[in-house]
């Protein structure tokens, strides 16, 4: 795959490498400025610098942590613990020299591509903490979460751990990235409690144009995320890009239409939210489904996430400020299950329920469940530890004044 010239011992392929260099840049762009703007536009004006500062800090912190320990834990051989966690032979990336390959691309490139996945996963979580978390506590939480939640789950699915072994299909990280971040966000917002004024003050996005820029860069960057997960520039990457595009467009239209019918106005926020829901849901399915499957996944993801971010959240009353669970959690679960339904042998060599293999759906649900449990419980424990040591919430005065001025001393004119 990848070129017509690949022979048995893999050699470096410059086309594959070119695409993976590009994909890494695209996935980095998803977080900065993508997530920073997507989230920054949704909060009130007094907290926009804070969302951007948190996102940027996470990008930097995860870079350093991944270099020191994350990559090694997630992707290296863990010996007797291999089913659950990787090894420590790449601490500080020692041994990652100029010649080691990973398939047809340099191992160093694989390492940095995966780094950008870890970055965005942790950045996604903070949408649930918006407007009330202490900056220092977030630094501590991010550090712990990368090591104790992200690295193991990445290892389970992609690093040779037990979920990959089970046969869970997760092309580009629906489980590792989105369900993982989604459930962490839900637990986080429950532990933190709602924002002051939640439910009666107007907390509508202060600048949905920033959110649109963020959503657009997420969409464009997601081509690196999904098509990059082919790890080569061939038909697999192309088809992953195609279904990503189709599911996203369909999901945005579905969300927009639902709110048009129900609330009488189609909104830009709805279009952007639907697009992200579609991107999330197609992520595990990208290399496995065909265009018609993508249309279905997009349609269902758009409608179900709309319900999750509006009716479900309202019914349960939690303040998942920017709908991390409603979009990434629910979208991730929808995508994981539908991957088991729509997987097509002709596309990715794996069959799903529609081709008679309904067992795949069960396997997918197992993958979802394992992630929900480990990440849900683990996040709770880590937050309790951080709360005990540093506290989690800013003072009510700081919250009312806005975190931009009270924590960072910066405001937007």
């Amino acid at each position: 795959m990848g070129t017509a010239f690949a022979d048995t011992a893999p050699t470096l392929n410059s086309g594959d490498t070119a695409w993976m260099l590009t994909s890494t840049a695209l996935v980095l762009m998803m977080t900065i400025p993508g997530v920073a703007l997507f989230y920054g536009g949704m909060v009130r004006k007094k907290n926009v610098v804070t969302m951007a500062a948190q996102t940027f800090m996470i990008c930097c912190l995860v870079t350093v942590l991944w270099t020191i320990i994350g990559y090694s834990l997630a992707f290296r051989d863990g010996g007797s613990m291999q089913a659950y966690i990787g090894g420590l032979d790449r601490l500080f990336l020692v041994g990652l020299d100029a010649t080691s390959l990973s398939g047809t691309i340099p191992e160093s490139l694989f390492m940095v591509f995966q780094m950008t996945f870890a970055i965005i996963t942790l950045a996604l979580i903070i949408g649930a903490f918006a407007d009330r978390v202490k900056f220092g506590s977030l630094v501590a939480f991010i550090t712990l979460w990368l090591i104790f939640i992200y690295a193991p789950i990445a290892h389970w699915v992609w690093g040779g751990g037990f979920l990959g072994g089970l046969g869970v299909l997760d092309y580009a990280g629906g489980t590792v990235v989105h369900i993982n971040a989604g459930i962490a966000g839900l637990v986080g917002c429950l532990v933190l409690g709602p924002r002051k004024g939640f439910g009666h003050e107007n907390m509508a996005p202060h600048n949905v144009l920033l959110t649109m820029i963020g959503a657009a860069l997420l969409w464009v960057g997601w081509f690196g995320f999904n098509a990059g997960s082919a790890l080569s520039a061939g038909t697999g990457a192309a088809m992953a890009m195609v279904v990503t595009q189709i599911a996203t467009g369909m999901a945005a239209l579905a969300w927009m239409t639902a709110e048009w019918v129900i609330h009488k106005k189609p909104t830009l926020l709805g279009l952007c939210s639907g697009a992200v829901a579609g991107l999330v849901a197609i992520t595990p399915a990208a290399g496995f489904v065909d265009p018609v499957g993508a249309l279905w996944i997009g349609l269902l993801a758009g409608l179900i996430c709309f319900w999750g971010a509006t009716s479900l959240k309202k019914a349960l009353g939690y303040d998942d400020s920017l709908d991390v669970f409603g979009v990434h959690g629910i979208g991730g679960i929808v995508g994981a299950i539908l991957t088991g339904v729509f997987a097509s042998t002709a596309i990715g060599g794996k069959s799903g329920g529609l081709e008679g293999n309904w067992g795949q759906v069960i396997i997918q649900i197992e993958g979802v469940a394992a992630t929900l449990i480990w990440s849900g419980v683990g996040t709770f424990v880590l937050l309790m530890i951080v709360k005990a040591i540093f506290g989690l919430r800013v003072s009510p005065q700081e919250e009312v004044e806005g975190l931009d001025i009270s924590l960072h001393g910066e405001t937007i004119q």
Binding site: G199, H200, E201, N202, M203, A204, P205, H263, K265, L269, S273, A309, T310, S311, K313, K314, D323, G326
Partner: protein, 112 residues
């Protein structure tokens, strides 16, 4: 000397300005404000939560005028700003002790 303070609907500003110009008044000062009154804002819906919008955008116009002209100013503004629908706004007339033009030091009626 009076200071006429009018709260009007934003899209009426140009008509009011023209009405005042027709009266021979060219000086005025304008501020963007938010008003609360009988007129209610649309309810905003954001991801399932509904919020009452308590304050609506309005424009405040301040015009200083001599006592004689004050009534005409009030009339002109109220004619131009009227739509007949709720939320058209108010006019307040305040007494002024003194007016000064900074550039020349002229006072009162000369200063307007």
């Amino acid at each position: 000397m009076k200071l006429i303070v009018a709260i009007i609907k934003p899209f009426k500003l140009d008509e009011v300005r023209e009405a005042l110009t027709a009266l021979g008044i060219q000086g005025m000062t304008v501020t963007e404000v938010k008003g609360h009154g009988r007129q209610k804002g649309q309810t905003e819906i954001y991801r399932g939560a509904e919020y009452a919008v308590n304050f609506l955008p309005k424009i405040k116009i301040e015009v200083a005028a001599s006592g004689d002209l004050a009534d005409k100013v009030v009339e002109a503004i109220s004619a131009a700003a009227k739509t007949g629908q709720i939320g058209d706004g108010k006019i307040f007339v305040l007494p002024v002790d003194q007016v000064l033009r900074i550039r020349t030091g002229e006072k009162d009626v000369d200063a307007i």
